[in-house]
Symmetry: C2
Subunit: 128 residues, 2 copies
Amino acid sequence: MTKVKEQSTRNQNKGISELACPITYVMNKIGGNWKCTILYYLMSGPKRYSELKKLIPAITEKMLAQHLKQLKEDNLVAKKEEQEKPPITIYSLTPAADELRPILLAMAEGGIKDNKKQFQHLMGEAVS
Amino acid sequence: MTKVKEQSTRNQNKGISELACPITYVMNKIGGNWKCTILYYLMSGPKRYSELKKLIPAITEKMLAQHLKQLKEDNLVAKKEEQEKPPITIYSLTPAADELRPILLAMAEGGIKDNKKQFQHLMGEAVS
DNA sequence: CAGAATCCTATACGATACTG
DNA sequence: CAGTATCGTATAGGATTCTG
């Protein structure tokens, strides 16, 4: 038994907030601290696990793997494995994520516009 | 002193993730569990504190106040107080938030499209 | 009415070590 | 290479009470 934990108000509320607002619904899908970053880099093309790791040095293995898994569950990224001896795994955006693309780009532009200097290092990099 | 807490890797990383990705930068501004919902309802026009509370019954006073404060600090909402005896406070979107409007609407559409049934109760409601 | 203050807990995240 | 497992902690968020 060990205390069923009763689903914690917190989690219930997360569900409620999604129902109250479609934006929040989307936000919760891309809402990890790194999920957007992952999507951002995948927008410039499919990438391997290790490539993502290199592109986002600050992320830990755990978060990368976990977020990729969640993104896959939410059908935003597709995973393709070559069962070679050193395994190779390619992650790419799904059509569903492609629909998010304009939104994400709009947000990126908003962010860059809002703080140009901060993001000069990114200009024209990850995004085609 | 009581343990300076040393800024916790976690918080550092939040900063780093913002630098790594302009989307994340924006996300962090609208990323509370209720912030978007607040913005969403404010999009249909200025609202009083108590109106917001009524519109979002599940939110606690604490979160509402806290998020409003943060949104104000990030210049996304404006606060106007009438120093009457029963105080009246009106919150509204700032021009900065108006620039987010298309993005938020696009996300809302995305969410609704993604899960039409779930959001039928909202159709044509909060958003003009 | 509009909020600030206090207290508490679930959970998201980080660090590290291990595996097919 | 591409992960999974385990453990520890900071923090977001909830409940409740108090105030100008």
